[in-house]
Symmetry: D2
C-alpha cells in the first residue's frame, strides 16, 4: 500500500469546458502526481463534481499555501466550491449510542484493528450499557441521559465535549434521540446516522414493525447525513437483506442488525476517505 502523504480535493462548480484540464494542469505544473481522479457531470443540472488525490512529496506548493494557490489559479475562475484534506491528518470521531450495541461493537473492532485512519476519543450515551466497553477501548465515555426537560442543556454539554475533543465527525450508532436543529447546525454534513429501513420507506420509529406489517420481502438500512428534517438527509449508503414469511419481527431485527452495521461502517469509511460530496440533498460518492 502506498503510504505517501496525499492531498485530496473535493470540488463542485457549474459545468463548463476545460475544468479538468485546468485542475490537472495546476497539479502537473506543480509536480503533484495524481494517484486518483474521479469526476461526474450532472447533465440535467449542468453541474460538475470532482475528487482528485495527489502525492505531496514533490509538490512544489507548501501545504499551508495550497488553498490560496488553488483559489488564485483555478477556483476563483470557475465559481468553484472546494475542500482540501490531507491523508496524514486523522479525522476525529465521536460516537453517540443508546442501548443497541451492534454498530458500536462493529466500529470498535475496526478501530482496534486499525482498519480506519481515525481517532475516536469520545463516546456519548443516554444509557450506561457500554461504559465498560468504552473504557476497555480507552475511549472517554459520558453518560448524558435525555429527558424533555434537560434536552437543551444536555446538548450544550455534548457540544462542549465535542469542542473540547476537537471532533470533526459524529456517528449516531443507533442513537435513539432526535437532535435539535441548533445542534445539527453546528455539524453540517458531519453527523452520520444509520436508519433501519430502506428510506424513504419506513421513516421514524419501529421500521421493522412497519416492514412486517406491510409484508415486504426485503428489509433495508440507510446511512445518511443528519439534517433538520427527520430521516430525510442525503443518503451515503444503503443495502438490503431478503426475508421470508417465516421471519417474525425478532428475526427482522436480527437480520437487520447485520445489515445496519455493515451499511453504517461503509458510510463512515466513505466519509473518512473524503469520498463524499453533498449537492441538493444528494450524495456523490466517489468510491
Amino acid at each position: 500500500m502506498n503510504k505517501q502523504t496525499t492531498a485530496i480535493l473535493l470540488a463542485e462548480c457549474p459545468d463548463q469546458p476545460g475544468i479538468i484540464a485546468k485542475v490537472t494542469q495546476f497539479l502537473s505544473e506543480n509536480h503533484g502526481n495524481i494517484v486518483d481522479l474521479e469526476q461526474h457531470v450532472d447533465t440535467a443540472d449542468k453541474h460538475f463534481f470532482m475528487r482528485v488525490e495527489w502525492q505531496l512529496d514533490h509538490f512544489s506548493i507548501r501545504r499551508e499555501r495550497i488553498h490560496q494557490a488553488f483559489y488564485e489559479q483555478v477556483g476563483s475562475t470557475l465559481k468553484m466550491n472546494w475542500h482540501i484534506a490531507f491523508s496524514d491528518v486523522k479525522p476525529r470521531l465521536a460516537l453517540f449510542v443508546s442501548q443497541h450495541g451492534h454498530c458500536l461493537f462493529d466500529i470498535l473492532s475496526r478501530y482496534q484493528s486499525g482498519e480506519w485512519h481515525v481517532d475516536i476519543p469520545l463516546i456519548i450515551s443516554n444509557h450506561k450499557n457500554y461504559q465498560a466497553l468504552a473504557e476497555e477501548a480507552g475511549i472517554e465515555f459520558h453518560h448524558l441521559p435525555i429527558t424533555a426537560e434537560n434536552k437543551q442543556q444536555q446538548e450544550q454539554t455534548q457540544l462542549a465535549l465535542l469542542a473540547e475533543h476537537q471532533i470533526d465527525t459524529i456517528v449516531l450508532a443507533r442513537y435513539m434521540q432526535i437532535l435539535s436543529a441548533d445542534f445539527i447546525d453546528h455539524y453540517p454534513h458531519q453527523i452520520i446516522n444509520i436508519h433501519h429501513s430502506f428510506l424513504p420507506a419506513f421513516p421514524g420509529a419501529k421500521p421493522y414493525h412497519s416492514a412486517h406489517e406491510r409484508g415486504v420481502k426485503i428489509i433495508g438500512a440507510t446511512s445518511h447525513y443528519v439534517t433538520t428534517e427527520l430521516d430525510a438527509g442525503p443518503i451515503i449508503e444503503q443495502d438490503i437483506v431478503r426475508i421470508r414469511h417465516n421471519d417474525n419481527i425478532e428475526d427482522l431485527k436480527r437480520k437487520g442488525r447485520d445489515n445496519e452495521k455493515i451499511v453504517l461502517s461503509r458510510a463512515i469509511r466513505h466519509h473518512l476517505q473524503h469520498e463524499v460530496l453533498v449537492y441538493k440533498n444528494r450524495c456523490i460518492v466517489f468510491d
Copy 2:
C-alpha cells in the same frame, strides 16, 4: 423431473395442536404420497398455514370427491380455509400491457420455451405496439384504448374477453392504467402487478424520477396482487439493483427494467405453482 400428476392443498386456519398430523394422516390413509410439505405458524396471530403436494397415482379418493372428503375428515373440524389445485390443469393467463415491452418480451420468451405450465390465450393493450408480437406468438390481441370517458365501458369489454377465454390470472406487465374497484373485485388476488419501486417507497407515478430526486443508492421493483388501494396490495416478490451517483434517470429506467422483468416473472411462477397464500394483506410464499 417428476411428471406424475399431483394435487396441491393451500390451507390456513387458527393454530391448534395436531393439524399437520390430521392432514398427513388423511393423505396417508388414502395412499397419497407427499412430495412436498411446508407449513408456517404466525405465532403473533396464532394462525396456521400449509402447502402440501401429493401424488394422485395411488390416491384412493377420486379427484372430484377430494374436496368433499377433505371437508368432512379435516377441514370442517379445524375452521380451515383451503384450496386444492391439480398439477395437470394448466392455469390460463391474460396479459395487460401498455408501451413498455420488456416484461412482455420476458414472459413470452418463457412461454415459448415452455418454462411455465400455463396457457396465455389473450393480450389486452391500450396501445397497438405489441399487436404483431402477440400474433407471432399465436396469442389473441385486443387493442382497447382507455380514456376517462370510455373506461367503464372498456372494462366491460375486458371482462367479457376474460370470461370468454376462461382466464384465471391477469398479469399487468407494465400496464399503465388504474383498474376500477369493480374490475378488481372480479379477480381477488388473481391480478398480479409489477411496480417499479421497492414499495412502500415511491408508490404511484414516476418512481424512478422520485428515486433520483431522493438520491437513493438502490432502486427496486415490487410484484404484488392488485387491491383497490393503489400499490398497496399483498407483496409476492421484491428485489433491488444498486445504483451510483452517475446513473441518471435513463440509467435508472434501464437498470430497473431488468429488475422488473425478473421480479414479475418470479412472482408469476410462485402464483402458477400455487405457492402463495394471502392473509391480512401479506403473502406467505412457500418457495
Copy 3:
C-alpha cells in the same frame, strides 16, 4: 417470543409414503404441539429429510425416554437416522483463532449481547493477540503455538481442553492452521470453518490474491464443516461481495472481512439452532 422448551428432531431416511404422517401422528398422540416442521425429498436419491420442533410442556413422554419411544414407534420401521436436541440445553462452543480478529470480534459481540443461545467457555490460539480480549469477555484463553514438530502434541492438548470444557462445536474463526485427520475425526460435522472465497473456487492459501490475479468481479466467503479433505467439506453458507477493477488486494481483504464475518455467523446460528443435516457431503439447511 415463545420461550417454551422445545424438542428438535433432525432425521433422514430412504423415502417412502407416509413418513410425515407417522412422525406427526407420534407427536400428536403424545400431545406434542408442533411449532415448526420442514421436510425435503431428494427425488434423485429418493431420500427423505426432516426437521420438526415441538413443545415439551404437555408432551406425555419424559425427555429421557423420547429417543427410545421414537425408535420403537417410528425410527426403527423407517431405517431412519435421527438426532433429538432440546432448546433449553445450551450448546458449548470453542473458538480457534490466529491473527485476524474480525470474525472473533463479531462472534463475541453477538455472545455478549445474547443474540445466540450458547456458552463459549474456551478460546484457543496459536498467537497471543486476543488474550486480553478473551479475558475481558470472561473466556478462558490458551496460547498454543504450532510448529511442524509440536503439532501432534499441541492437538492432544487442544483435545484435552475441549473435553474438559465439554465442547460440542468448534469454530475456526480464521484459524490459519490445518487440523490433522485424527483431530477432525473427534468432531465429525462439529467443526465449522470460514474460507475466504466462494468455494470451490480458490481453495487453499491466499484466495484474495488469486481472485485479484484472475480478475473476478465478485469475491466470496464459504462456511463449511471441516472434513479431512482441505476446503472440501459440506457447505453451510456462502455469500459474495461485488468488487471493481480499482479494488486492490488490500481492498479485497477489507471488503472480504465484512462478508466473512457475516457468513460465518449465519452458519454458526444455523448449526446452533439444529437446522443443518449433512448428507453425501451436502448440507440441508432448514432455515
Copy 4:
C-alpha cells in the same frame, strides 16, 4: 439525454506523472468538451488506464485526423496504447446460438426496443430452433451444424459471413461449440461468451450439475472475452443467485437462466459503450 456525437478514448500506458494533464490539455486546447473521464492506476503494476469521452461539436480536429494528432501530441510521448471510437458509429454484432434461447430472446428484446446502439445483421447456429425467430426480427440466419469432421470448414464459412457483414463483435449466446484457436485469433477480445458458473469454479461442461453435486449455496454466471484457453478469458461481468437445498438441477438451470441473460447483456453493453480495457487477462470496466 445528450445525443451529441462524442469520441471515446480508451488508453493504457506505464504510469508517470502528468498523463491526465497531458490528455485533458490536448482536448481542452482543441475545444473538446469532456463529458466523462475515468482513470485507474494499477499501483502494483505501475500502469495507467483511462477512458475519456468528449463532444465533437466544437472540436477543432477533424475526425479522421484525431488519431494522428493524438499520436503526435500525447500518445507517442507516453508509450501509450489507445483506441478511439465514435458514438455515432454503430457497432455490428453477430450472435452465435445453439438450443438454449433465453439469452437470444433477451438480446433480441433489447435490440427491438432500441436499448442498445447496435446493428445485429447475423445469427449463426448449429441448430435450426431459432430460424423463424431470427427471420421475424429481420436478421439473417445461417444454420451451420458442426461435427468433428466439418468443424474447420464450417468455421471458414462463419468467418466469411462475419467478414461479409462487417462484424465487430461476436456474442456467444449459449453457443455450445468450442471455437478453434485460429477462429479466436481473428477476433481478439471481440468475442463475448456467457458461462453458467462463477468462474473459475466449474469451468467446462455441465456446471449446474457440478454445483449441485458440490452442494454450493450460490450459483453464478460469468461473461468473459473468449481466449484460446477454455473459460479462462478476461472476465467482464459476473453475478450470482442464491439457491437452497430444495433446488434440484432443473431449478438451478431455471434460476441460472435469469442470471445468465442479465450478466451477458450487461457485459455486451459495457463492450458496446467502449467501457472495457483488457490488461494482463483482466478487464478494467469503466462503468
